[in-house]
Amino acid sequence: MLRRFCIRWIPAFISWLVAPSWVFAFSRSGARVWLPEGISTVAPEIDRLFYIVLVLTSVVFVLVQGTLLVFLVRYRRRPGRKASYSHGNYRVEVVWTLIPAIILIWLAFQNQRVWSKVRGTPPPADLEVEVTAEQFAWNIRYAGQDGAFNTQDDVLTINQLHLPIHQTILIHLKSKDVIHSFFVPQFRFKQDVVPGLTTHVWLSATKSGQYEIACAELCGLGHYRMRGFLTVESPEAFTAWLAEMFKEQTAS
C-alpha cells in the first residue's frame, strides 16, 4: 500500500517542488538580477504598476497551485471512495467570474492613468532632440542655438546622447531603413522607430550618470551591437558639452 502510494505520488511531488527550487538554487548565486535603477519621472509609476500586477498575480498563483496540490492529495484515489457526481455549481461559477472581472477592471483603470501620462499629450518641452536610427547606429541631432532643426547650427552626434537632468525632453524618433526600437531600461520605456513615421516621446531624467541605449527590435545582423550611450548631466554641463560638440563639428 505504502509502496504504491510512493510510486504514484513521489514523481508528482518531486517535479512540482523541485522545479522552482532548481531555479532559485541557481539564481541566488551572484548579483541580484532584477529591475535596473529607475531614472525617469515615470519610472516609479511604472514600477508601482509592475509591483501591483506582481502581487496580484502572485496571490492568484499561490492560491491556484496550492488548491491544485491540496486537491491532488486530498482527492487521490482511495479504495472504497467514489468520486462525487456533480456537473458544476452555478453560484460558484458566477463568483469566480465576477471577482477576477472586478480586479481586471480596476487594473485597467490603474494602467490607463499611467498610460495617458506616459503616452498622452507631452508637457511643454525644455529641449527637443531628433534621433534617427539606422542599421546599426543612433544619429542624434540637437537644434542648436536657434532652436530649429535642419539649420546651419544643428549639432550632430553618433551614438552619443546627452540630456540635461530634471528638464522635460521631447524626442522625435525617425528611422532611415528598417524598424528599430529606442530602449533605455532605466527610463522604463521603449519606443519603436518606424521608417516613414516620426514618433514623439517625452521624458524627464531624475538622476545623472552614464546609461546605455539598446535597440529592442530586431533590425538585422548588427542588431545586438546597435548600442548608444546616454549621459544625464546638469544643464550647465550639458550646455558646455553641446558647445564643445558644435566647435568640433565646425572645425572639421
Partner: protein, 572 residues
C-alpha cells in the same frame, strides 16, 4: 456506403497516400514530432550561444561552416536560428500536432463517423505540410541561409533579406492553405456527420475546441496568406505595400513610396493572435477531456467551458494590437486593446477554475496523461498570469521585446500547448497503436520535462525584468546585463537536459508501438465514442454507427456499479 466492398488497399494507398483520417492523423504525428525534435535542436544551439557567448562548439563547423566558422557562431546565424526555431515550432510542430493530429484522428471517432466529410481534401491538407517544410527548409541550403527576420517577419527588414526569406514566405503560404483545407473539413464533418443522438451539447470538449479552432483558422488564415502575398510582392516585384518613401538601405535610396510598415504588423497579428488560440484551445480541449477521465468525475461546468471557448475565439480577434503597444500606433488604440486584453483573461480564468472544480471531490489517478494534463493547467496558469503584465500596456512599455515575453510565450506554448500535446499523445496512444505506453518511462519523462522546462523558462521572467532584450546575439556588452551570465548558463544546462529527456519519450513511443502491453478497446474506462471500437479502429471506425444517449462525462453516476457510463450505452 458499403464498407465491406472495399478492396484491401496496397501499401502506398494504405500508408502513404491514404484517405483514412486515422492514417493521416498518424502521418501528421510522425512528421510533426520529427519537426518538434528539429526545432528543439535549434533551440539548444541558441542556448549554447546565450550560455557561453562566443565559445566554440567544434562539431558544428562541419554542419554549418558558414554559420559557425571554427565552431563560433556568427550573428546572422543566431538570427536565423531563433527565426527558424520559432517558425518550425509554431508552423510545423505545435499547430500540426494539435490541429493536424488530434483534429484528424479524433473528430470522426469522437462524433461516431466513419471518416471525414472530405477524405481527399484531408489527404491533400496533409501532403502540403511536407511540401511546405521542404520549401521553408530549402533556405538552409541557399546563399545567406534560411529566414532570419524573426518568426514575425516584420517589414521592411524581411523585404531586405535573401532567398531564404522568400522560401519562408512561400512555405508559410502553402502551410496556410493546408490549414484552411483541414479546417473546412473539420467544420463540415462536425456539422454533418455526427452520430444519431450526438447533439452539440453532447460533444466532448476536445471536439468543441477543435470545432472553434477550425472556425478561427478559416477566418484568420486567409488574412495571413494575403499579407504574405503582399510581402512577397514587396520583396520581389518592387511594390510598396509595407515600404514607405525615403528608406535608405545599405546606402541606397529605395524607390518605394506610399507604404506603411505598421500595416504588416496589423495584418500579421490579426492572424497571429487568433493563431495563439489555435495553439491553445485544442490543448485546453485535451485537458478537459483527460482530467474528468482520471478524476472519475463529470467535467465541472461543461456549458460555461463551451461558452468560454467561444468567448475566447470572438475576443481573440479583438486583441491583436496588444503586440504593438510600443510600435508607434496611436496611444488611444493602446487603451482599447489594453481593455480588450484584460477582458480575454476572464474566460481563461473561468476554464482554470473549472478544471480545479473537476478535481474537487474526485477520485484522482495519476497516470502519465493525467500528470501531463495537470502540468498543463499548472503551467498555463503561469503563462496566463504573466500575460497580465504584458496586457497592462504601461508595464509592457518596459517588458515588451524582453525575455519576459519570451518566458510568457513559452509558458503558454510549451507549458500549455506542449504539455497538452503530451497528455493527448499518451492518452490516445493506446487507441492509435493498440498498445499501452510504458508508465514508468512515461512518468520519468514527465518529471524531467517539468523540472527542466521550468529551469529554462522561469529565469526568462527574471531576465526580462532585468531588461534583457530578446533576439540578442551577445548580451554581455551591455552594462546592465553584466551579471546575468550565471542565470543564462543555468538555463542552457536545463535546456540540454530538457532535450535529453525527450529521448526517453521517443524511445518509449517507438518501443511501445511494437512491444507495449496490448491495450484493449477501453484501457482508461472512458466514456467517449472512440473507446467503443477496437484499438486501433478498423477502416470505417465502427462496426455499426453508434447511437448516443448522454453527454461525454458521465462518471461516477450514483446507483451504478461501474464508475463510467459510455455515451453509446443507455443508462438502464
Amino acid at each position: 456506403m458499403n464498407r465491406s466492398s472495399h478492396k484491401s488497399p496496397g501499401f502506398v494507398q494504405k500508408y502513404i497516400f491514404s484517405t483514412d483520417h486515422k492514417t493521416i492523423g498518424i502521418q501528421f504525428l510522425i512528421t510533426s514530432l520529427f519537426m518538434l525534435f528539429f526545432g528543439g535542436l535549434l533551440a539548444m544551439l541558441i542556448r549554447w550561444q546565450l550560455g557561453w557567448p562566443g565559445h566554440s562548439l567544434a562539431f558544428m563547423e562541419k554542419i554549418a561552416p558558414e554559420g559557425m566558422p571554427g565552431g563560433i557562431m556568427v550573428p546572422e546565424y543566431f538570427n536565423m536560428l531563433f527565426t527558424m526555431h520559432g517558425s518550425v515550432m509554431i508552423f510545423f510542430a505545435i499547430i500540426p500536432l494539435l490541429v493536424g493530429v488530434f483534429g484528424n484522428y479524433l473528430i470522426p471517432l469522437k462524433i461516431g463517423a466513419g471518416d471525414m466529410a472530405f477524405p481527399r481534401l484531408n489527404m491533400i491538407s496533409f501532403w502540403l505540410v511536407p511540401v511546405s517544410i521542404a520549401i521553408v527548409c530549402t533556405g538552409f541550403f541557399l546563399q545567406g541561409g534560411a529566414a532570419a527576420s524573426g518568426w514575425t517577419a516584420y517589414a521592411p527588414l524581411s523585404t531586405t533579406m535573401g532567398p531564404g526569406q522568400l522560401c519562408w514566405i512561400i512555405g508559410v503560404i502553402v502551410l496556410g492553405s493546408s490549414s484552411i483545407m483541414g479546417a473546412v473539413n473539420y467544420i463540415t464533418t462536425i456539422i454533418n456527420l455526427r452520430a444519431p443522438g450526438m447533439t452539440y451539447f453532447r460533444l466532448p470538449m476536445s471536439i468543441w475546441a477543435l470545432f472553434i479552432t477550425a472556425i478561427i483558422t478559416v477566418l484568420a488564415t486567409p488574412v495571413l496568406a494575403s499579407a504574405l502575398i503582399l510581402l512577397l510582392l514587396d520583396s520581389t516585384l518592387g511594390t510598396s505595400f509595407f515600404l514607405p518613401a525615403g528608406m535608405i538601405i545599405d546606402g541606397v535610396l529605395q524607390p518605394n513610396a506610399g507604404g506603411q510598415a505598421l500595416l504588416w504588423q496589423h495584418l500579421f497579428w490579426f492572424y497571429s493572435h487568433p493563431a495563439v488560440y489555435i495553439m491553445i484551445l485544442p490543448a485546453m480541449g485535451i485537458a478537459s477531456e483527460v482530467i474528468p477521465v482520471f478524476a472519475r468525475k463529470p467535467l465541472f461546468g461543461y456549458h460555461s467551458m463551451v461558452w468560454a471557448i467561444m468567448a475566447i475565439a470572438i475576443l481573440g480577434f479583438l486583441v491583436w494590437a496588444h503586440h504593438m503597444f510600443t510600435s508607434g500606433m496611436n496611444p488611444a488604440l493602446g487603451t482599447s486593446f489594453m481593455a480588450s486584453t484584460m477582458v480575454i483573461a476572464l474566460p481563461s480564468a473561468i476554464k482554470t477554475f473549472n478544471w480545479l472544480g473537476t478535481l474537487w471531490r474526485g477520485s484522482i489517478r495519476l497516470t502519465t496523461p493525467m500528470l501531463h494534463a495537470l502540468a498543463f493547467v499548472s503551467m498555463f496558469v503561469i503563462g496566463g498570469l504573466t500575460g497580465i503584465f504584458a496586457a497592462a500596456s504601461t508595464v509592457d512599455l518596459y517588458l515588451h521585446d524582453t525575455y519576459f515575453i519570451v518566458g510568457h510565450l513559452h509558458y503558454v506554448l510549451f507549458g500549455g500547448s506542449l504539455f497538452g500535446i503530451f497528455a493527448g499523445i499518451t492518452f490516445w496512444f493506446p487507441k492509435m497503436f493498440g498498445r499501452l505506453l510504458n508508465e514508468t518511462l512515461g512518468k520519468i519523462h514527465f518529471a524531467l520535462t517539468l523540472i527542466f522546462f521550468n529551469g529554462v523558462m522561469f529565469p526568462m521572467f527574471i531576465l526580462g525584468v532585468a531588461g534583457m532584450p530578446r533576439r540578442i546575439y551577445d548580451y554581455t556588452q551591455y552594462a546592465h546585463l553584466a551579471h546575468v551570465g550565471g542565470l543564462n548558463r543555468m538555463m542552457s544546462v536545463s535546456a540540454f537536459c530538457l532535450g535529453a529527456a525527450q529521448l526517453i519519450f521517443m524511445f518509449n513511443f517507438f518501443w511501445s508501438m511494437y512491444r507495449g502491453k496490448k491495450a484493449g478497446e477501453n484501457p482508461w474506462q472512458a466514456n467517449t465514442l472512440e473507446w467503443a471500437t477496437a484499438s486501433p479502429p478498423p477502416h470505417g471506425n465502427f462496426e455499426k454507427t453508434p447511437t448516443v444517449y448522454h453527454g461525454p462525462y458521465e462518471y461516477s453516476v450514483p446507483g451504478r456499479k461501474d464508475d463510467w457510463l459510455p455515451q453509446h450505452q443507455p443508462a438502464k
